[in-house]
């Protein structure tokens, strides 16, 4: 083989390879392609993954994402309707639904991001400013579970009813934004508030409110303790009085009854001969009451010494 011929074959082969490489393009699972001829879009978007053919050199491939794409809101200080400043961070997920339109209107993702910034940040600001803070924080009118502690006193705040709520507001923003992105070849799939936080100064106020709230609860506990202790003390005193007086009453009743029946018994016996009773009882009393210090004068006239006298 002559070298010239070899070179010619080589050149031809190289040319052929270039043509093939320019005519064949690959679309992956995550991509979609718009073909342009001298900057002019040709045919519909190609989103079927695999190998595809185009006119070599004349046509150009423009790749676009087929997946859900991210969007992060600029964390921004926004006043709510009730004049509270909060930082709102939100995010959205969107995708390119019509690459052709997308290509014409926004060119690339950076263009889309900046347009989304305009639309979503603005809508977020508007919506937040139209509502009270509570609407952005809560999603439902669910009543708080209460444990019965006075610590739950503050739960009365849950009595505030919300009209829309967090999820509904996000949906509202999504809907308004969707209307404005309809002709951009993109679709916002979801929009959500990620973080809502108080700005520094408000945070301090909230903290001091929380602290005072806790103080109140603590005081309440203490006072409850003292009150309960006093109540128990009172109960103790009352019961003590009741117990002792009741015992006294019963004891007196019992004693009284016993004295009465003793008196009856004595009377019944003594009534048989009152004179004899007096005699016996007097002697008994004398026997008990005269002790050794007593001076006794006995007359020989007396009953006791009568016989002494007579014996003389």
């Amino acid at each position: 083989m002559k070298p010239a011929l070899l070179a010619a074959f080589g050149a031809l082969g190289l040319l052929g390879l270039l043509v093939v490489m320019s005519a064949v393009y690959r679309v992956s699972e995550t991509e979609q392609v718009v073909i342009t001829e001298f900057g002019q879009p040709v045919g519909g978007p190609i989103s079927e993954p695999g190998l595809h053919l185009k006119k070599p050199f004349l046509q150009k491939t423009n790749y676009f994402e087929r997946r859900f794409l991210e969007w992060e809101g600029d964390p921004n200080q926004v006043p709510t309707r009730d004049k509270r400043f909060v930082y709102v961070e939100c995010f959205a997920r969107w995708k390119i639904t019509d690459p052709l339109l997308f290509f014409q209107r926004l060119r690339d993702e950076a263009g889309a991001q900046s347009r989304l910034d305009d639309i979503l940040d603005g809508e977020t600001r508007n919506t937040i400013a139209k509502h009270d803070l509570i609407e952005v924080v809560r999603s439902t009118n669910r009543s708080f579970a209460v444990s019965g502690d006075p610590a739950d006193e503050g739960a009365a705040l849950g009595g505030e009813t919300i009209e829309a709520g967090r999820t509904a507001l996000a949906l509202e923003i999504l809907r308004t934004a969707a209307a404005r992105t309809a002709d951009l070849g993109i679709e916002i799939l979801d929009f959500r508030f990620k973080r809502i936080a108080y700005v520094e100064e408000v945070q301090k106020e909230v903290y001091s409110r929380m602290i005072s709230e806790r103080r109140r609860i603590a005081e309440r506990y203490r006072s409850e303790g003292a009150g309960e202790a006093a109540r128990i003390q009172g109960e103790k005193d009352r019961e003590l009085k009741a117990i002792t007086s009741e015992a006294y009453r019963r004891a007196q009743e019992i004693r009284g009854r016993a004295d009465a029946s003793a008196a009856d018994i004595y009377a019944e016996a003594h009534n048989r001969d009152p004179e004899f009773f007096r005699f016996v009882r007097s002697l008994e009393a004398l026997r008990d009451s005269l002790d050794e210090e007593t001076l006794i004068l006995l007359s020989t006239d007396g009953e006791f010494l009568r016989y002494l006298e007579q014996a003389r």
Partner: protein, 331 residues
């Protein structure tokens, strides 16, 4: 480039120098063959699954092991750890997971965990989300930045759930409920976003009031303890006094009963004795009367030290008596 690949290539270069000029084609072919054979096989680790793409199009999944594929650029492989339990942490990061695990801290993590409660208070909620890739196809191809998306969803869901609860619920009684509710909603969102992620569990870690407010929360706990203490002490006093008083009351009553029994029995005894004596007296009154009198005198007189016997014929004897005598006995 690995040595195994460099080896044949250097050999090929030597070969080219030897076999001028038709040898160039052969050398190129050899290089291509080396690349092709290198990219014709792949290994899938036990916890992974291999997703094979043909010209960028999803073709098949390969289980763990050694597999053949068509060489580059026809087929390519993405490996997804479907069996491994993956974890995302919020509000903290594990630096080294050892027996004593260390955590990193940063104000960024603080912001991750700080959230508003339904009563417009602030709570710091740290949690982890454990998940697995259920559908490798969706996981790879449906969402760009799927891990970041998953994190965003986590934060959203947790704040939604916490935002509907009072700070007290979040800090105390509501923990389990919050975890369960967040898990449910997160799975819903993951499905809605086509992430292919299966949420295995959300575990709430430390749930605290913000640092600045913590002392006052502790104060509440302390006050609660104080309350219990005061009540207990009061109860103790009650318990010390009342049962004893009950016993003492019973004692008083019993004593009264005893007195009553004693009194009545004695009365009966006395009455019976009187009746008996009376019966005897009635039988011979004069003698009995006298006897009782004399017996009594007999009992009284020996005890009495000073007895004066006065003859009935003496008159005006009283002034002679020294009635003060007992006083003289005093020292």
């Amino acid at each position: 480039m690995t040595p195994t690949e460099a080896g044949p290539r250097r050999a090929a270069a030597d070969y080219v120098r030897q076999l001028q000029p038709g040898g160039i084609g052969v050398a190129i072919l050899l290089v291509i063959a080396a690349i092709v054979s290198w990219s014709a096989w792949f290994t899938v680790e036990p916890e992974e699954v291999g997703v094979v793409l043909r010209f960028g199009r999803y073709d098949r999944q390969s289980p763990p092991g050694l597999h053949l594929k068509l060489p580059w650029p026809v087929e390519s492989v993405e490996k997804v750890p479907v069996q491994r339990q993956l974890k995302e942490e919020f509000g903290f990061r594990t630096r080294t997971a050892e027996i004593r695990t260390r955590y990193e801290e940063s104000p960024d993590f603080q912001r991750e965990a700080q959230m508003l409660t339904g009563d417009l208070n602030v709570a710091v909620v740290e949690w982890t989300a454990q998940f697995r890739v259920r559908d490798p196809y969706k996981y790879l191809f449906k969402v760009r930045e799927v891990r970041a998306t998953f994190r965003d969803l986590n934060e959203t869901v947790m704040r939604e759930v916490v935002g509907d609860r009072s700070v007290n619920e979040v800090l105390t009684i509501g923990r389990q409920e919050i975890a369960a509710e967040a898990e449910r909603r997160l799975q819903e969102l993951c499905d809605q976003y086509d992430t292919g992620i299966h949420v295995e569990q959300i575990v709430l870690q430390d749930v605290n009031p913000p640092e600045a407010v913590k002392p006052s929360f502790n104060e509440v706990n302390q006050a609660q303890q104080e309350r219990e203490k005061m009540i207990n002490e009061s109860r103790a006093e009650y318990n010390r006094v009342i049962p004893r008083a009950r016993g003492e009351a019973e004692q008083t009553v019993q004593q009264a009963e005893g007195y009553a029994t004693d009194r009545v029995n004695r009365a009966r005894g006395d009455a019976e004795a009187f009746k008996s004596v009376l019966a005897a007296y009635r039988r011979s009154p004069e003698v009995t009367r006298r006897r009782i009198y004399l017996e009594t005198m007999n009992a009284i007189l020996p005890r009495i030290k000073r007895k004066v016997i006065i003859d009935s014929s003496l008159k005006g004897v009283l002034p002679l008596l020294n009635l003060d005598r007992p006083a003289e006995k005093k020292p």
